[in-house]
């Protein structure tokens, strides 16, 4: 396989465009979340900066940039500085795996609408989401604060538990698509979305990604009623901003992956593929915000009980049932 200048330029252009779009989407997702939460609680969200508050993300960004960067006394310096990046980078890397459109043709060569199309893309996604645990754990541990440490220990336990159910819920998808490659998984759903064959796996995956994002029914690591802000209590300024933006990029990325695995990715009638993909991914983001506006926080023991005694057995049974289904019906 040989590369020439146009290939490299196309790859870099793709990366730059996707990076910009994702950052912009994450920034505006913050605004959308604040407005929607406001509407759910019958108030306006932020509406002061610019028309309808549309410049609010920029104002927030400037605020975070110019805030003082505080390092608590007795903190582990390098790990404290490293942890926000360790939380944000895996989220950005996950985005690079998602196929968000049909391959196009530039300069006479096909360009997949995806940064990399690995043959083990699905496993790489699980790998990155398991690496993201370190940002939470080290950030809380390095802060030298009780609340942060409690938050990070809780986060560790929660994230490794829900990773297992997430992985198990993706096994039926692999069995049906017969590939780990994300583009092939999307192609396998041309005729029927996997949510029709695998509603239980979809539900388990949905619950697991909400837990992976540490969003509200499962926001044990940062439970503000108990732990101030959990693992990022001691962070301020740009480092807090990295945690924050990482969380929202994670929401978009996991929403996009849920759309890819269960809702047919970019397949859809009438509209262009990229638009279909964005609609599906942002629908998941909306669902996350809606859940946050509705549900109370689970207790820690309820969370672990739910994962190990309900979700994991159900996911295993679902794999078994899918195996029998494929063996008997011979589908796929």
């Amino acid at each position: 396989m040989s590369y020439d200048l146009i290939d490299i330029a196309l790859a870099f252009g793709k990366i730059a465009v996707i990076f910009m779009v994702i950052l912009l989407l994450a920034a505006y997702l913050v605004l959308a979340e604040r407005v929607l939460l406001g509407r759910i609680q019958e108030r306006f969200g932020p509406n002061r900066v610019g028309p309808f508050g549309l410049l609010q993300p920029i104002a927030d960004g400037i605020k975070m940039l110019v805030k003082e960067d505080v390092k608590p006394a007795g903190a582990d310096k390098w790990l404290f500085y490293l942890a926000p990046a360790m939380a944000a980078i895996p989220a950005i890397m996950i985005v690079s795996l998602i196929p968000f459109g049909a391959p196009l043709t530039f300069f006479g060569r096909p360009v997949g609408m995806q940064v990399v199309d690995l043959n083990v893309g699905l496993l790489l996604f699980i790998g990155f989401s398991s690496i993201a645990v370190y940002g939470v754990a080290l950030g809380g541990w390095a802060s030298n604060s009780k609340y942060s440490l409690l938050g990070s220990v809780r986060g560790l336990a929660q994230l490794i538990s829900y990773e297992i159910t997430m992985g198990l819920s993706l096994v039926p998808v692999v069995m049906l698509a017969r590939s780990f490659q994300l583009s092939e998984i999307v192609d396998a759903q041309k005729t029927g979305w996997f949510i029709l064959y695998q509603p239980i796996a979809f539900l388990i995956f949905l619950i697991s990604i909400v837990a992976e994002c540490r969003r509200i029914p499962f926001d044990i690591p940062e439970a503000e009623g108990e732990l101030v802000a959990g693992f990022h209590t001691e962070y301020s300024g740009l480092r807090f901003g990295l945690f924050f933006v990482g969380e929202y990029i994670n929401i978009i990325a996991l929403g996009g992956l849920a759309a890819t695995f269960f809702l047919g990715g970019w397949h859809g009638p009438l509209l262009p593929p990229v638009l279909w993909f964005l609609i599906k991914a942002l629908a998941f983001a909306f669902l996350f915000i809606w859940l946050r506006g509705t549900l109370p926080r689970l207790r820690y023991d309820q969370l672990m009980h739910f994962c190990w005694k309900v979700l994991t057995p159900v996911a295993l049974l679902n794999i078994l049932a899918t195996g029998w289904f494929i063996l008997l019906v011979g589908k796929g």
Binding site: D76, L79, L118, N119, V120, L123, L124, I126, G127, F128, S130, I131, V133, Y134, A137, L138, W141, L149, S152, V153, L156, A157, L159, I160, E163, G167, F180
Partner: protein, 164 residues
Amino acid sequence: MEQALFYILATVTVVATILAIAEKHPVHAIVYLVTSFFSLAVIFYLLAAPLIAMFEVIIYAGAVMVLFMFVVMMLDLGNPGEAGRPTLRHCLPALLLAGITLVSLVLLVIGRGAEEGPDVLQVVSIRDFAATLFGRYGVAIEIISMQLLFAIVGALYLGRRRRP
């Protein structure tokens, strides 16, 4: 290019492992070790074993090391003074034994000569891997699953609630 990448990654692996061993602090050691395992995973990917590379990331970096970190944080083993810092008395025999082992291994490896086999371009695809795994090594799969089951039972037994 892959060759240069391999040597860079090998250097990163060895240096990170040395730092992990020399570090007095368990949490720092774990972070260095994760770096080492991550670059080892990329080496596996270069060696045309993408599945093993991914499982290295998921299981070693993502699960085993997280479990270590969880235990270190939960038991608060963070302070380096505790748990017997090694002295020179500990180090000397270790270094001696390690030196002997290393020299003999290197001699063994180099002594085999630089015989280079034919350039095998037959890459193992994931399908071949799965067919071999579940076909020829089916009994091994069963044994491993039994072992995991026993590990679960053992962990549950050790972690059971005792009467105070």
